[in-house]
């Protein structure tokens, strides 16, 4: 075996020793000749790529002699493909001008089928979030952005796409969140820790609505969110970002619990550069929040590292890792509505310390223009300990390996196949010493049936074993169609089966916190779903784009937390549920792209069929709207969201007296506003943005006994050197 590795190294080195090289460099600008930062430059058919720096420059060195096409892309602009470039020991220079696109046109999405496709050509509803919003809206966590995505609701930190989830106290997720395709749910509770995802390192976020278990397996039963990280700049680039903000006084004097000014602040620094064939990017940040609520403060230190090494134009190795250490006080529920920003007396002084790290590695090799193979191992290591009377703690690890093969029969036929293995291990005072194993094999074929008709068929088999629970086997088929009526109109339909195995926390939690006891349920089974959706995407009046979708999702043996006759919580395969609805999303850019408008409406009918009642924490109506305006280097915007009052919550918390006034809730009605200067537009490498969240200081809850953040003001300054 040693000889085999030695031979590979010799081959790789010798190839580099004797090859002849050139380079491609240039600049990427927009229509007004202003430089574009962060545009992705890729040599087509290879794994070689870089990002432009603050002046729009890029440089790809050490390109083996030959003929290449170069592509340049950035969200919001039409993808550029060069003429054939000849490299023969020379340095080729190319200046690229990118044209802005109408909203959501001509964008690529890779999450849908694990290879790049036109956004409007896929068979299910999707949405792309541009990283620009994190800089402009001063979002501290990635999930803050999802509150303005049509069809997504957040109940505190728990995400739901089209009503897939209610609230389960952090146990399990029905939306699979991934960084560069690697899932990031915790090994023990199976939840998403949003603070672990570094907002400064995000290039874009791809959101797929509806079950995607046929490709991604368990937890993708309600959809996928894939966070794509920035490509590394080859020119040395340092970014310094400083943010600070204050909370305004609560709108009722009764709620004021301190005379101090409550503030939050964040400092981060990141640097990227090229060392030979190694592209490296690293960042450090510190975040402190005194919070608008008592006993809700936190301090967090986080780090991110990304490295790409190109052995050749066909073989590369990528690594990324992110981690944080955090100390956070515990605010579980308010004392009562008279004391809405103060926790129950018993919770005062409690806190949780947590250390979490994820590593992901991707080895990619292109055999030829039709065949490529990827090996993707990853590890998630998590530890937390609370400072409560019971001193709960949990140490857990998740190891995952995926081998994926992409085969392109022709431009019209694409096959993606792979195998995946995952092992979780937990040692905890509340979950016990547990482990789980799962294995999946999947294959998906995408092809043009006719000139205008794309067909996508996929099948996945999963086998999972959760400690001493019965083996679970699941077969997840999927079929999808996309028909291009003309250049402006696409219709689509998809049908698929989804499934989700219970998390270790759902099956084995045994603890008491704040007077609430959670009991284990070793008889828990996987839940499954049948999802159907159909939709149309059209430009009624160019450049107004409208997307309309209707959906029907049937859930079987849905896992929900419920109360037993002793008032204790236990996770059960509670019910058969049906979630139906429709969604309208519209966006446009007017006045030479200076004015952007967006609108989204989602109607949800989420019924527990067995008990003939509405599912918990699902608002029937939700609306989002946004206006962005930019003139020269000044940019401004207003965002609005509305959610109707949720019909049903965990009333047992109120009946048992655990959350006084816990039944008090209203419709949600929030406006955020911002204004700032994008100094890149005047050739200065920086951005300054002022933002107001919850402009009206409107008081609402997403989760019982938890008042949402009061109005707060923030200022961010970002400079690149």
């Amino acid at each position: 075996m040693k000889n085999f590795y030695f031979l590979i190294i010799i081959l790789l080195v010798s190839e580099n020793l004797f090859a002849q090289f050139g380079s491609i460099k240039g600049k990427v600008t927009d229509n007004s000749n202003l430089p574009l930062l962060g545009a992705n430059i890729i040599i087509e058919g290879t794994l070689i790529g870089v990002a432009t720096d603050e002046n729009g420059f890029f440089n790809i060195p050490k390109i083996k002699n030959g003929s290449y096409f170069l592509t340049a892309s950035i969200v919001g602009f039409t993808k550029f493909k060069s003429e054939l470039i000849q490299i023969n020991n020379n340095s080729f220079e190319l200046n690229i001008k990118l044209t802005p696109t109408s909203y959501q046109f001509d964008q690529l999405i890779i999450s849908a089928n694990k290879f790049g496709q036109d956004l409007r050509g896929i068979s299910s509803s999707s949405y792309i979030l541009d990283s620009k919003i994190f800089a402009e809206k001063n979002y501290q966590k990635v999930d803050d952005a999802f509150r303005y995505v049509p069809g997504i609701t957040m109940t505190q930190d728990q995400i739901s796409i089209r009503g897939s989830s209610g609230y389960s106290r952090g146990a399990g997720t029905r939306v699979l969140v991934a960084i560069d395709g690697i899932p990031v749910y915790t090994p023990d509770t199976g939840e998403i820790i949003w603070e672990l995802i570094p907002v400064n390192e995000i290039e874009r976020i791809e959101i797929l609505k509806g079950s995607s278990s046929s490709l991604y397996g368990s937890s993708a039963i309600g959809g996928i969110i894939n966070i794509i990280t920035n490509k590394i700049s080859t020119n040395p680039l340092t970014l310094v970002k400083l943010e600070g903000g204050i909370y305004s006084n609560p709108s009722h004097d009764e709620w004021k619990w301190t005379d101090k000014t409550l503030s939050f602040n964040r400092q981060s620094i990141s640097h990227s550069r090229l060392f030979g064939n190694l592209n490296l990017s690293a960042s450090l940040s510190r975040f402190e929040d005194l919070s608008y609520r008592k006993n809700d403060n936190q301090i967090r230190y986080s780090a991110f590292l990304k490295a790409d090494y190109n052995f050749s134009e066909n073989t590369s190795l990528s690594f990324w890792g992110t981690g944080y250490t955090r100390e956070k006080s515990t605010f579980i529920y308010w004392k009562d509505l008279q004391n809405a920003l103060v926790p129950a007396d018993a919770d005062l002084g409690q806190s949780i310390n947590s250390d979490r790290t994820i590593f992901g590695l991707k080895f990619n090799h292109i055999y030829n223009e039709n065949l490529s193979i990827s090996f993707v191992p990853s590890a998630y290591i998590s530890f937390w300990k609370d400072q409560s009377e019971s001193s709960n703690k949990s140490s857990s690890q998740l190891y995952r390996n995926e081998l994926r093969i992409n085969y392109k029969f022709s431009d019209e036929i694409n096959l993606v196949s792979g195998v995946e293995h995952q092992y979780n291990k937990v040692g905890s005072t509340i979950f016990g010493n547990r482990s789980s194993n799962s294995f999946g094999i999947f294959s998906q074929l995408d092809f043009k049936l006719f000139e205008r008709l794309n067909l996508s068929t996929g099948l996945r088999y999963d086998h999972s074993k959760l400690e001493n629970l019965d083996n679970e086997n699941s077969l997840s088929p999927k079929i999808g169609l996309n028909y291009k009526i003309d250049d402006n109109t696409f219709i689509r339909a998809s049908f698929g089966k989804g499934f989700r195995t219970p998390s270790l926390a759902e099956a084995f939690t045994s603890t008491t916190t704040s007077g609430v006891t959670v009991k284990p349920n070793p008889n828990l089974n996987s839940e499954s779903s049948l999802s159907f959706e159909t939709g149309i995407n059209t430009n009624i009046l160019d450049p107004i784009n409208i997307d309309f979708a209707i959906f029907n999702n049937e859930y079987f043996e849905m896992i929900e937390p419920s109360f037993d006759s002793f008032g204790d919580i236990i996770f059960k395969n509670l019910t058969r549920a049906r979630i139906q609805g429709f969604e309208i999303v519209s966006a446009t850019k007017l006045f030479s792209e200076n004015l952007s408008l967006k609108f989204g409406y989602n109607y949800l009918w989420a019924i527990d069929i067995e008990n003939n009642e509405f599912l918990k924490y699902r608002p029937k109506n939700s609306v989002i709207a946004g206006i962005d305006f930019k003139k020269d280097f000044v940019e401004s915007g207003i965002d609005f969201r509305y959610l109707s009052r949720v019909e049903k919550i965990d009333n047992e918390f109120v009946d048992l007296g655990l959350v006084p006034d816990g039944d008090k809730r209203v419709e949600i009605f929030v406006i955020d506003a911002r204004v700032g200067v994008n100094l890149f537009q005047i050739n200065l490498p920086g951005r300054i943005f002022f933002s107001i969240s919850n402009l009206l200081n409107y008081n609402y809850v997403e989760l019982i006994g938890n008042l949402a953040p009061v109005r707060n003001f923030s200022l961010s300054t970002e400079f690149i050197f």
């Binding site: 809405a340 006759s565 009605f669 009206l696």
Partner: protein
Amino acid sequence: MRALRILPFLFLLLSCDKGLSPENADQKAGFGGTVTFIGNWNSAAKQTYVVAFKDPLLSISDFSIFNLKFVSDSIPFGSNNFNYSTNSENAVLSNIEFGDYSYVAVAQTIRDTLSLDRNDWIVAGIYTSNDDSAQPGILNIPQGTFIENVNILCDFNNPPPQPPSEIQNLLKSFFESKKSDE
């Protein structure tokens, strides 16, 4: 100037209602009174409490955590009198809202820990209405009102009728089966 056109709209929004407010909170309703003990305490009684149930105790399933709304702080062994209040910070459980409470009583247990097993409890006294001093009285608490003088007499020599328990059910089914045999 176009931006100025949205100002009236913003003004309209700013004048809207502010969502939740402390005024939405329920005024604290409740009740309290004195428990008077007559006779000798049973030495086996480990704990004694005033308890309140929302719905009547018609079957053993009514003895549930969802029906139990109040458990006072522990009454010291051997007391002659004990003052209680649902607003006491020492109460074990206090989830009193306005409305009717069908069963307010003093209950004793031989256990060291609190248990929700009906068979662990014996009722030593009940709140009764003026009309019928032998039956549980319904206590009505209007919204935002604290009712005083909800007094309970515990006569250890003359205990009140006991709510349904498994033993009673067994006896009942035994006698019913006996009757049908005859």
